[in-house]
């Protein structure tokens, strides 16, 4: 038997995992909410000046995610450019996951537009094949939300994800155990979930081209070459479950990060610093909401040419106070910032998080000052809870209010301007709204 014929898993579906992936999710949601956009090239991300998501119609004309609006409009003058409306996207997202949960309780919300569902053992409930159950999920999402999802069905999460990527949009790909060896021969290494450019380069040096070439290598080789993560991928690709579908909502964080791209690259020190401080404020608000504290802070600045520089520092006492971390972050900014460069985004990563419960006092610390800083953060949370996020902010935030060159930024999604009776610019009905008149 040639290796091409070597069956990896006998049987069809010893486990059955569905990966569902919303096709061009943000743009598709816009089209679903406003039927007049159906069939037209739609992109979102107007407020950033960069395309966040392009509909399949736009993609067909050569407009991709990540290119600038100016370039996109050049390629396609009739492009519909919308500001991002995350509120509506998350409402649609929640409904998509709710539909999956009608079929099985084991649903993992991997991100806003994709998830996993474990449908193993459900055949006896639905009296149909796993393929048909997966198709029913796909059809229900299309009928109820007017959205298309691509579906991958296979033995493990890694395989299901590869399968859903295989045919898009509105694709359906089921890979049974006995067909695994044929499927993996058609998957280039770059497509494998978890393999970055470096890993792929390394594997290519050893003469591997496809996912199949990789799993034909001995288990010990994968372990030695790529360590634990690579070994886990090797097993997942062979149909052995390493990563179960986890239903828990993310409550424990390893880190919390905030990154915002400016509407227009800037060399203005005050403005860039203010953006960074705003990232810090947002990240710490999340830290406190989850009753956590921070032991490590990373700050990064990304330049106009997409090169990025960052610095990381460990704290000698964990904190949940923005005010306590601020001087440190300003120091890091001072080290990183170079006046002759233009920057396009700032990032703060709060790492080594732990629960903010018991606190060990320190002999050499200034207790009174620390208590004051924590009080300040608590008061700001309280005020902002009542009057809106960032209403009360650290003084550097004033530099954010300076006039900006781009007007695209100031355009709000229609959902925020076309309010229903009783809605405010901070509180709206948590229901997806269609832009139609009857």
């Amino acid at each position: 038997m040639s290796p091409q014929d070597q069956i990896l898993v006998f049987g069809t579906f010893p486990g059955a995992i569905v990966h569902f992936d919303g096709d061009a999710f943000f743009a598709s949601v816009e089209q679903a909410a406003d039927p007049s956009l159906k069939g037209r090239p739609v992109v979102t991300g107007r407020e950033r000046g960069i395309i966040a998501c392009a509909s399949y119609e736009a993609k067909a004309l050569g407009v991709r995610r990540g290119i600038s609006l100016r370039d996109a409009r050049k390629i396609c003058p009739q492009l519909v450019v919308l500001p991002s409306d995350y509120e509506t996207y998350s409402l649609y997202s929640r409904r998509m996951f709710d539909i999956a949960r009608r079929f099985t309780p084991i649903v993992e919300e991997y991100s806003i537009d994709e998830g996993f569902a474990d449908i193993g053992g459900l055949r006896r409930v639905f009296h149909v094949s796993y393929q048909d159950i997966a198709k029913q999920i796909q059809n229900t999402v299309r009928e109820e939300l007017n959205l298309t999802v691509s579906i991958g069905l296979s033995l493990t999460k890694s395989l299901a994800k590869l399968a859903s990527d295989f045919r898009k949009p509105a694709g359906f790909t089921a890979v049974a155990g006995m067909h695994l060896h044929l499927f993996l021969q058609r998957i280039p290494l770059d497509n494998v979930w978890g393999f970055g450019a470096n890993t792929v380069q390394l594997l290519r040096k050893h003469g591997l081209k496809t996912a199949y070439d990789f799993i034909l290598k001995p288990e010990a080789w994968a372990q030695k070459m790529l360590g634990k993560p690579g070994h886990e991928i090797w097993r997942e690709l062979r149909g052995q479950t390493v990563w179960p579908v986890t239903t828990e909502e993310k409550s424990s964080y390893a880190s919390i990060s905030k990154c915002k791209t400016f509407s227009e690259p800037s060399a203005d020190r005050d403005y860039i610093c203010a953006r960074l401080v705003r990232n810090l404020e947002s990240a710490f608000i999340k830290v406190r909401r989850h009753k956590l504290r921070v032991r490590e802070i990373t700050v990064a600045l990304r330049k106009d040419d997409y090169c990025q520089e960052g610095l990381r520092t460990a704290l000698n006492r964990p904190t949940s106070s923005t005010q306590e971390a601020l001087p440190l972050v300003l120091d890091l900014f001072g080290w990183l910032f170079r006046p002759d460069w233009k920057y396009r985004s700032t990032m703060v990563v709060l790492g080594r998080l732990e629960e903010d419960r018991e606190e060990q006092y320190d002999l050499f610390e200034d207790r009174i000052r620390i208590e004051k800083l924590h009080k300040a953060s608590a008061v700001m949370d309280e005020v902002n809870g009542q009057f809106g996020k960032h209403r009360l902010h650290i003084g550097t935030g004033q530099f954010l209010e300076m006039p900006r060159p781009s007007r695209d930024r100031d355009i709000l999604p229609w959902r925020k301007t076309d309010l229903l009776k009783g809605e405010t610019d901070r509180r709206r009905l948590a229901l997806p709204r269609l832009k139609i008149t009857v």
């Binding site: 018991e358 006092y361 002999l363």
Partner: protein, 364 residues
Amino acid sequence: MKLKVEKAAVVEGLQKVLSIVSTRTTLPILSNVLLQAEGGKLHLTSTDLEVSVKTSVDASVSKKGGTTLPARRLASIIRELASHDVEITIEDKDTAVIQAGPSFFKLRGASEDDFPPLPKFEGSRAFTLKQGVFRDMLVKTSYAASTDETRYILNGVLLSFRDEKLTVVATDGRRLALVEQEVEFPKDSEGDLVIPTKTVNELIRTLQDDGSIRIQASANQVAFEFGDMLIISKLIEGAFPNFRQVIPSQAEQRVTIEREALMNAVRRVALLASEQASTVRLTFANNRLEITAETPDVGEARETLPVKFSAKEITVAFNPEFIVAPLKTLDSDEVFFEVTDALSPGVIKSNVPFLYVLMPMRIN
């Protein structure tokens, strides 16, 4: 080089230098031990560039010379040998032949010229102490040193020679251990030395009960000479925090407690302290001390000790490890526990000049 040594002696000698040899090092020669034979002695030296340790054992040297050999492999070979004496011969290119009775080993080494030389040392200040006393002072304090690299100045033990006294202090910022001893030294040798923890541990391991130790210090290095040993170490540079300032001058309550009873009770109760933030509560109430711990969804523990206490009830929470650590190293029957309130530091004292300050934990 050709020599004959007693197996037991060379095993002991290697043991003294081996803990400095790191298993993972960027400089391969540092995983070797330097062997030098001359004048009836075999000198063994190891270094990690921060700390260097040199010791010697009696040997009958028939041809003097030197080489370096992989330290751990050499030690495990000699440890396993069956005969009383070991013969080590260096052939050309630093290959050693080790013979003992019927056993024959050939071990490839590296030239002694590649081994980093011991730092040239000119100490301007010198002190002489009793080995046993010095070791005892280190044992009673060093566990409190910090391992947090962000507080590098606390990653060691402070030797403060002032006012005809040696004060040894270690702290990680959350607890502080201090012992004091009167010592004679020239007035112009007064000053502070912060010794890295690795060096302190090496000293604790190799110091003997009897005999004296000579300490010589320069601005950034220190040398310890005792018995057959020479340890040269870098000093941690920087200003040690003002420890006197954090020692509470007066506590509200002083309670006498049996040392072992307290230690064992805290150990037992701590079995049910939560893993994330290990905490036990000490409640001093009417003639009793109640030690409690609880972990949600796991359970709780309580133990009561009889003590003399008649004031208003005080509850304070500590990391149990911080209570047990000093009690383990003390040898008195009783200790004095001083407390004020839930937010103020606790103090443990013993009748030897020992003092231990520990910060409480805030519990929600």
